[in-house]
Symmetry: C2
């Protein structure tokens, strides 16, 4: 991690929903950090010192299980807030880790300043609350999927989800990350990807996946 150049003070969650008068203060307090591919931005279990906003790059937000296993709860991208789970009422420890999937630039704000921002900008608090509501809905939908859908359907859901996120039918992701996101193992993902390829619903070239028939993929998730 090293310090990086200034962001545009327009892109991130904090700047977008702060009143114009506050933006200058944001500029003063923000730090700009950059992380290389695979670098850890923050670690599950360590104390929350501040909040991050993703300025450029891709980040996975994940929970560890022992040394080997993990669950990816979210992929974050430009503008997204990171570390906000630490704002709960419990101990101030990160409950997830964030790891750069490619070279990444983030803006960072310490907790005190972010909490001051919430006080000064009711709209920010409201938007953040809404954002939480959305994430909670999504987390609960995923929980239900884990319990009631089979792996193939969860993989279809994961692929569509990632495609939506990238706003592109083509994207790049490792099989292992796909497995951790769909809540299963590498081998099972490998096999189910093969099936989707056979069925011509997707095409794969190395780590690049292209969704060919979105409609048919969608059918898997409501069955």
């Amino acid at each position: 991690m090293k310090k990086a150049g200034a962001c545009d003070l327009k892109t991130c969650f904090l700047c977008q929903f702060s009143i114009p008068e506050w933006i200058a203060a944001v500029g003063d307090h923000k730090q700009h950090l950059s992380y290389k591919k695979n670098e850890t931005i923050f670690q599950e279990g360590s104390p929350v010192k501040g909040i991050y906003f993703l300025y450029d790059g891709k980040v996975k937000v994940h929970k560890q299980w022992g040394a080997e296993k993990e669950l990816i709860v979210r992929f974050a991208q430009k503008g997204d807030i990171l570390g906000h789970r630490g704002l709960g009422s419990g101990e101030r420890l990160y409950t997830v880790s964030a790891t750069a999937l490619e070279d990444t630039t983030v803006c960072y704000t310490d907790l005190a300043f972010f909490e001051a921002s919430l006080k000064v900008n009711p709209k920010l608090t409201l938007k953040l609350m809404q954002f939480y509501a959305d994430e909670l809905q999504e987390a609960e939908r995923k929980m239900r999927n884990l319990v009631h859908m089979d792996v193939k359907s969860r993989l279809a859901d994961a692929l569509l989800d990632i495609s939506r996120l990238h706003n592109d039918v083509q994207f790049t992701i490792s099989r292992q990350d796909l497995a951790s996101f769909a809540g299963t193992t590498y081998e099972t993902i490998y096999r189910n990807l093969q099936e989707f390829i056979q069925e011509k619903l997707i095409a794969v070239d190395g780590k690049s996946i292209t969704i060919l028939q979105e409609k048919k993929l969608k059918k898997y998730i409501t069955l």
Copy 2:
């Protein structure tokens, strides 16, 4: 569902975090409703008209899957807010159902009034945001458990969770609800309960479950 007597304007989430000057308005706008055991308070997929606060009784918050299957995401009790997932930025549809587990009284507020309350009471918005953060953390922890822990451990976690909620080592719950909460089937819960009984970690009498050895149960969840 029928109208019930007035609440004390102190217990619920809304009253607790509103400024004193607002409480009168709350009293004017609140409706008090009561539901019989097994009655639906609101249904997944139907439009969000308002927010509920549980005044008395027990409620399960659950997601349906087809006609037969469900997942219980939360048990709510006195003071708890219900329906708040509807505050997200998407369509205003309930993403979960709420069903009374026993005779229950709730306070109800339409969405417009609740949103006005958020505007008037920054503290309420902040507390609600914190509440979301906590729920999100818990939902993600549960997701990880579903993916990485076996049923016996998830059952241990569920029992401890419910005990914590009731603030009592003894509580009452149907096997089916326990299964839907732990993300498994009735039969599997039945068998694992038997094992816990054999191991003398719990005692069961009809629908009443008593946790005998909390420590040993806890060991299951960090293994």
